[in-house]
Symmetry: C2
Subunit: 122 residues, 2 copies
């Protein structure tokens, strides 16, 4: 049921590799494409996402004790991949892996408008 939203992200962002709705426990609810592309497999993107889920969870908890407001988005940019995480609700977030050469601004925009749509279905 999240497929259409994930599809909108993967197809709407140049350089997108794969996208997922994940829980803060690091378990993916749904991922697109179903068969992870080779680039994602080579980087073991799934393993990275589990680690990043942990970082996102910490950022969320930290923010509760800070005066900077709720964390809406986290971005971890490494040599081979840009990972964008967007809060959906208290338990779930969207994660997108994209090429460093991809359209980052578009990615942030599409993730921002898609998150509330996903939230409605959870």
């Amino acid at each position: 049921m999240f497929t259409e939203h994930l599809k909108a992200i993967v197809e709407g962002v140049e350089g997108a590799i794969a996208c997922s709705v994940m829980g803060f426990d690091g378990i993916s609810v749904e991922t697109l494409p179903k068969d992870m592309p080779e680039a994602a497999l080579e980087m073991d993107m799934q393993a990275a996402w589990v680690e990043f889920a942990n970082l996102m969870s910490q950022a969320k908890q930290t923010a509760e004790t800070l005066k900077t407001g709720k964390v809406a988005e986290l971005s971890i940019n490494s040599e081979k991949v840009i990972t964008l995480l967007r809060m959906v609700n208290q338990d779930y977030f969207l994660v997108l892996g994209m090429l460093p050469t991809g359209n980052y601004g578009k990615a942030r925009y599409v993730m921002r408008i898609t998150a509330p749509k996903v939230a409605k279905e959870l």
Copy 2:
């Protein structure tokens, strides 16, 4: 000695609030402006940066065990402030706090070109 580089960031990015060269221990080497603006004080930005330094440190360590490559940049976007962290070397990073309405693309660009300049002086 880092002042000119920090100045280039703070003055070059619309919406920039404050910028710092920090160690992964959360201790600031130099911060600009010297007197934190009111917006930064209200949010207790310094406290947030110490926490984010910790996240950056974890992201760095995590990346070493992952196949996604070294972490170059971390961005934590909350309701009131966007925090951009850019790796300088193994021990130091640049951190910029900016308004959510600021020029994020410009900020990423300026941080990317400034980091190697700061590295040379460390």
